[in-house]
């Protein structure tokens, strides 16, 4: 039972978060502590571990995984920020814009040396975010009283998880929230217990929510963490400071909409109200995890394909953490996200898991730390048994997940999933005039713009779903509708669901009235370029769709 007892009643005297001299991660301290002829200090280990994580995430970064539609969306919208707008199509409050604003600020630097914003560059930004998150995972572990080795373990468990490599490389808003959410948790559990750290945590949380709304699920856990770790006499100030700071940051979003008179729904304009209703109500449910064949089941299956340890072990460890005072905040976070995921009939996007994984890693490492100390405190003989048990547990875990991990990491380092995409782009570059209109998924947009096509959204690459999704702008820019489109680039994103396709008359008509000119890959990796031709329909929608299944 001693596992459940709070080991440290007083805060653990670890270094503060914000003081660089104490943060073992800085290069300066690396030199100081790990000087020649000395035993390598913790900074060296942390540095090596982070380097390893970065290496695994960078290697073959533009070869795998295949570009996901949303990656193109966010890169294009970050690009639009340079043009002084929040999106190059009408910004309809689909997500708050802080994510691509951050992305834009990082994509700006390489343009100075002539590197145009692209999904590849944005993927490097993701690695940067992953590295910062990894360091913060270590920091959080230390703040929660984990020993160095276990904190380092949490960092590696997360950073080297094939699931994290898979999701983390892709340009997704959820990845951009991670440093903010993990940072907020590290701040509220900081041993310095400074009021301004709580205010800072509130700001971090606010930015996270404005990056991706799902970050709001971290709120209860952050409050639990603050409450447990704060200095009691001034705790009320900490709570109010954090709430005010996050409220003020998040408030910018409705304020922006209000100033544009787009907070509430009305005729002839987009609004936050409509967008919220769409995200919360109109979006179809994904079914339940336990129903074979449901969307949710498929999503869960895709997670477990890459890693079973972190999602399953993390949820179990998270539940145990609820009973450990010092780890409860992490337990609350994991549990909250798990409960929301399990709610029947909710919409479950594949990237949902990203937000929970760092905390799952900390939960597993935290429970392992507690378990070993609990056993060791029972006397020397048990200590030996405890060590043996730890080794046995490690071996068991390696036996369980080792082969899958190795296989999936190899996939990440060697697979050429983006090849059909690259080939299609090369073909268009070589064969198509720059004034052709090409309807494709979002991921082609910035690449084609960099190759010289128009960036106005309508006379060069066109987001395929905008043909039906932005009727006002389409009528203004393409009076003839689908007939004005010259080429189609069909891939998994567009051909994913036949029902969805049929609900888009403009796009599906364009497909029916087109003929294939080139293609690469097969089934789910299929990329097909088709030319739109006047006259009678050339093909059945079903036939085109089936080739991609």
């Amino acid at each position: 039972m001693s596992l459940l007892e709070g080991r440290h009643l007083a805060p653990v005297p670890t270094g503060p978060v914000a003081r660089p001299s104490d943060a073992p991660e800085t290069p300066g301290s690396l030199r100081r502590r790990g000087g020649l002829g000395r035993r390598p200090g913790p900074a060296v280990w942390v540095g090596l571990a982070v380097a390893l994580v970065a290496l695994v995430h960078v290697a073959n970064l533009n070869g795998w995984p295949a570009y996901f539609d949303d990656e193109g969306t966010y890169v294009a919208q970050a690009w639009a920020v340079y043009q002084g707008d929040l999106a190059h199509y009408t910004y309809w409050y689909d997500h708050p814009p802080a994510g691509w604003l951050q992305l834009a600020s990082f994509l700006g630097l390489p343009t100075l040396v002539g590197v145009e914003p692209s999904i590849t560059v944005a993927r490097y930004v993701m690695v940067l975010y992953t590295v910062v998150t990894a360091l913060l995972v270590y920091r959080l572990g230390r703040n929660l009283g984990l020993r160095r080795g276990f904190s380092l373990g949490a960092m590696l468990l997360w950073g080297l998880s094939p699931l994290v490599v898979f999701e983390g490389r892709q340009v997704m808003l959820d990845n951009l929230t991670l440093p903010w959410v993990v940072g907020a948790m590290a701040l509220v559990t900081s041993p310095r217990r400074n009021l301004w750290q709580y205010v800072g945590a509130g700001v971090c949380f606010g930015v996270a929510v404005l990056t991706k709304e799902t970050a709001v699920l971290a709120a209860p856990a952050l409050l639990v963490g603050l409450w447990a770790y704060a200095y009691r006499p001034t705790r009320a100030f900490g709570v109010v400071g954090a709430l005010m700071a996050s409220g003020l940051v998040i408030g910018l979003y409705p304020l922006y909409a209000l100033l544009k008179l787009e907070l509430f729904a009305g005729p002839d304009h987009v609004s936050v109200q409509d967008a919220v209703l769409f995200q919360l109500v109109d979006r179809g449910g994904s079914g339940n995890f336990w129903q074979v064949g449901s969307d949710a089941y498929t999503v869960l299956d895709s997670w477990l394909f890459y890693d079973e340890l972190l999602p399953i072990g993390g949820v179990v460890a998270g539940l145990v953490c609820l009973a450990v005072p010092r780890l409860r905040c992490v337990g609350v976070l994991v549990t909250t996200m798990a409960v929301v995921a399990l709610r029947p009939g909710g919409y479950m996007p594949v990237m949902y898991v990203i937000g929970v994984l760092p905390f799952a890693a900390v939960a597993i490492a935290g429970i392992a730390d507690r378990a070993t100390t609990a056993v060791a405190s029972r006397g020397p003989r048990l200590r030996l048994a405890g060590r043996a048990g730890l080794v046995a547990a490690l071996l068991a875990v390696v036996a369980w997940t080792g082969p899958t991990h190795a296989d999936r990491i190899e996939l990440a380092l060697t697979d050429e999933g983006t090849e059909p995409y690259d080939s299609a782009v090369a073909w268009m570059d070589a064969n198509l005039e720059r004034d052709t209109r090409i309807a494709a998924s979002d991921s082609y947009w910035s690449t084609l713009v960099n190759l010289g096509w128009s960036s106005d959204g309508w006379s060069g690459p066109i987001w395929a779903y905008k043909l039906d999704g932005d009727p006002i702008a389409r009528r203004a820019n393409l009076p003839d509708g689908w007939r004005s489109v010259d080429y189609l680039v069909l891939d998994r994103t567009i051909l994913d669901s036949r029902l969805t396709l049929e609900s888009k008359p403009q796009l599906s008509r364009a497909i029916r009235h087109s003929e294939p000119v080139a293609e690469w890959g097969e089934r789910s990796t299929l990329v097909q370029i088709r030319r739109v031709v006047d006259g009678p329909a050339q093909t059945k929608l079903y036939d085109v769709w089936r080739r991609a299944q």
Binding site: L195, Y231, F237, V240, L248, Y256
Partner: protein, 416 residues
Amino acid sequence: MTALVVLVVVVAVALTTISAATLWWMMHAWGSPEAYESINAPRTDRPGLSFSLIMPCRDESERVMAETVRRLLAQDHPDFEVFISLGHDDEATIEAARRIAARDPRVHIAINHDEHKNKPRQLNSTLQECSGDVVGIIDAESLTAPGLLRHVDHTFRREGADVVQGAVHLMNLRSRWFSLRNCLEYRIWFRSRLHGHADNGFVPLGGNTVFIRRALLEEVGGWDGDCLAEDCEIGVRLSVLGKKTVCVYEPALVTQEETPDTVAAFVKQRTRWALGFMQVMAKGEWRKLPTRRQRVRALWLLSQQYTVAFAGLVLPLAVASAIIGGLPILAVLIAFAPLAPALMTIAFEIIVLHEFGRDLQVRIRALDYVWLVVSTPFYQLLLAAASLRAVGKYWSGNFSWEKTSHVGAHLEEVAA
């Protein structure tokens, strides 16, 4: 248009800086556990020093003075004398003071014969009659806590202090609409900000419940007889000399006072302070402070009333002009930025008020919290009015002393 955008952005950034810095200093004591605990809560031992307490009076009611003296005489310290300091032309008060002094041999009367009367001159002439090791100033309407002197005595010796600044709280929360904010202002100053200033090495002393070694006072030639903020002024000079000031805080030992009894009196008091601060700034002693940090902080403190008044007046203008002027949305959002520290300040003040009620055993009602928020802009207006008035007086060279009258509202508050 561009000019307006630049103007709005510059003003917004300035306002945000002002409110954020003010918030930062206001929250000193609640910022970290270390700051919260380092309030030098005094302890006691066998007294070792003697005290001369000066009580400057002008047009005071006998009732108020008598109560203040009664409280002083109730001190459990064995060695102190009380001087009721008066002006020779204030005959009614002198009469009353004589009656009060007659009742106890420790109470004396000191009469100032200067042609122009003000507080520092009365203090200076009274100083010549003091014989204690330490001179303390107690305002005429101040209710001191019984153990105060013994604790101050101990603090002087334990800390090797040259100056000990005690805490003053206003207690009549509900007398006037502005009283609540006024009380809270004192609470924040003495519980938090003053300690932040002390850490920084620049302490603008208060004029009440402040204790200074007599030898030091004589060495620096006493108070500046022409300054309307003589307390702040001497604080600057002592800081420049590197003298050690210890600020003590303990809820049970705070001196209790009253807020001004009318809006006019409040504005007069604030005008006097503002004018005094301008005098101190113009005199330039603060420039001799050893470190840059201290000088910046001193400059900030002395000019704060203007920056805050400016912030209070301009904030709504900036936001309004940004919206009405049809500025780009980003400029409008930036114009809103100063609201962030301002709103956060109000949120923190609500908890400070709660803590104040708890520490001083005053019941704070739900309506008080509401009032605290509602009265904020109007209180800001009062402060701004006083600051502007001070500027007017400064230009016309009018430095006459506008005294705050004392009706004894805090006596009822304390009795209740």
